[in-house]
Symmetry: C2
Subunit: 194 residues, 2 copies
Amino acid sequence: MARTQGSRAEITGPLVRDAARRLFARHGYAAVSMRQIAAEVGLQVGALYAYTPDKQALLADLLRSHMEELLAAWQDDPARPALDRLQAFLRFHIQTSLERPEAVFLSYMELRNLEADNRAEIAALRRRYEDALEAILIAGMTQGSMRVPDSRLAAMALIAMLTGITNWYREGGRLDQDRVAAVYWEMVRGAVGA
Amino acid sequence: MARTQGSRAEITGPLVRDAARRLFARHGYAAVSMRQIAAEVGLQVGALYAYTPDKQALLADLLRSHMEELLAAWQDDPARPALDRLQAFLRFHIQTSLERPEAVFLSYMELRNLEADNRAEIAALRRRYEDALEAILIAGMTQGSMRVPDSRLAAMALIAMLTGITNWYREGGRLDQDRVAAVYWEMVRGAVGA
DNA sequence: GTCTATAAACGGATAGAC
DNA sequence: GTCTATCCGTTTATAGAC
């Protein structure tokens, strides 16, 4: 039989992280107090420190786990045609971004509020993600199915373009996710000279 | 002969705004204290309140004046070919973004820290800027020189893509501003089906 | 316009009881 | 694991002297 307290802890931990993610994304890391996070979960401040050593570690955990999940979820097959891989990347990026818009926003916006070593770690993870896209573009040029003036800049441009969707997309809006992906795919295909 | 105090005020005001812009962009609005801003300018805290009623108004002023300068500086000529207008927009957006990366960053990142009425005002200005780009895309489709699947989404996609440059561009880096503009222009042309 | 001093609230984090 | 209580530094903003 499950221990009451143990079971509670397994639930409370994720709740604390969910609340922190939501509040940090909405108001900014510095603007959110530990008291606000506690209130959102239904705890008193002191109890939060059973789940994180301090506020900074809470933010670093959110960013690190987001990037690690992203990298683990992305499945590429270098044997496939580059254009197919690019379309798969586009769908993957749009879907995960719209599933977790708060984590995406945080990862791009709150890097500056991390201490140097935490920041370097997250930046390296993000760089691996950018490299995954650039590898596809390089393959496309080698295969002759794409033509981009600079693979590094093209990767940065495409990620910025796709991530920007989270700034305006609203569930139940004019276009659903599939339609958005189709529209962006047409533009991306053109941008890479396909 | 100029009054010492009057002359000082005309200089101090902009200095306060410059310091606030720099610090807000670097650390985030909520993370920056009025004391830090004062120290940056060489004042004591109390003196800041001669230039702004409060911290919130200081941020709102920065965002509003940035957007208004942007809109005032953008000179379009609807009589020209749409592709030329689009290239002019691209050059304009890249140049102004790289000239004032801090203001650009603030305008996109700190909207959430404005009170509702201030936020609505800035959002409306930003919307006008997006509309200026969309108008060019619509003209391009009418003229038959462009083909985009959705003019609104295309405008949002292009602005996100171009603004993203501020995230990685470094003066004296691998590519200078003209080269960056040329690379992006090739991608943008493709994206709009030209 | 700028200073010093201060009010009043809020920040992160910890201690000890249960 | 959670609560209450508290420490102590910092925050925005204001008052009054110069």
